[in-house]
Symmetry: C2
């Protein structure tokens, strides 16, 4: 398998986290989203949306969207329940993550790290406010004392959420001010199979349009 | 089953579309997102994120996030492939939809219909630009002449995408300027089981904070 990815991307980190947990070997090909390498004809052929991560299977087929890659890789493993309702719960938090965490906090994080919080203050504030509200929702989801977001088992929903929740401080809101969220982060980071090799943005990140 | 929903919500429309295709009966309970009814303790108990739609099963269990509800209901039907790669393709476009269509175009649509495009012009412009880019991605995804987004079969990925793509004009970008996207919309709207009962926003919609 080949994972087209970039070391600065939380969405790509999620894939690396699961691949490491599963002990799967793969080739990593770096595609620099800050240098426009995700928006070439070559990459559009892998993913019509021109983004990363993209997983290329040995058959040559490609799967994009971190959530779809996680669900594909986790099939049949302990990281994805086999029962219908259990799968729905995992999917629920993964859709929540893409809609409420990634689209708000990851964008707010990019804007803040690239100085757009000063040039587009209301746009930044809206992303941050909606993203902070998502962290409160997550805190409510964990408030009954469960170990992981869908219960006592660590699943791809936790991995998906970890990607941008753990670095929400970069966006302007510290996730560890939430009691249950802080304990959940600790629990994930204490796992034997845990990796977090998310790289800082390069100097030229601010040149990327958004 | 009970569907907690609102007639103005594209995310709720998706559930109604699939329920109608499947011929399933359910009770509809209206929860007015513009009057704060999704942010009560009663509704937080159904969905920690305080949003709609929420599907309550006969067992009393609840599932939120339109994508998770669609995947749950479609299990074992023609609207969701049974093979691993086919499911991954459906999931790919459903995550794309929540991250790139819903989070950008549905928010831009709300902002424009509620007059926020004038009070927060850069925030609105950013949502619209990113959402318009998502429509271009979708056009690329359909450009090989396929009938539906994952191939020749109508799946929950098409239903999920239809929810906010068909009304992207309200957000400020006409989806029908894209050739393949226009044909795809026509194909969905010509289906015997098609319903679109999306209601206009009420007069008091602009009072909702965002």
């Amino acid at each position: 398998m080949i994972l087209y990815e970039h070391d600065t991307s939380g969405n790509c980190l999620k894939c690396r986290m699961l691949l490491n947990e599963l002990g799967l070997s793969y080739e990593s090909v770096s595609v620099d989203l800050f240098r426009g390498e995700t928006r070439t004809d070559e990459h559009f052929a892998r993913n019509p949306d021109g983004r990363i991560p993209v997983l290329e299977l040995d058959s040559g087929e490609t799967i994009s969207e971190s959530g779809a890659i996680l669900l594909y890789l986790a099939e049949g493993s302990d990281y994805l329940p086999s029962d219908r309702l259990g799968r729905a719960r995992v999917a629920q938090w993964m859709f929540f993550e893409q809609n409420r965490v990634e689209a708000e906090l990851a964008v707010a994080r990019f804007m803040r790290l690239a100085g757009r919080d000063r040039t587009m203050p209301l746009a930044y504030a809206q992303r941050l406010e909606r993203g902070s509200d998502a962290l409160e929702a997550l805190e409510r989801g964990l408030a009954d004392g469960r170990s992981f977001i869908t219960g006592e088992t660590y699943t791809v929903a936790d991995i998906a959420l970890y990607g941008y929740v753990h670095c929400a401080g970069d966006a302007g809101t510290d996730p560890r001010t939430h009691e249950h969220l802080a304990a959940w982060l600790d629990r994930i980071e204490a796992r034997p199979g845990f990796v977090n090799d998310l790289a800082p943005f390069p100097d030229y990140a601010s040149q990327r349009p958004i």
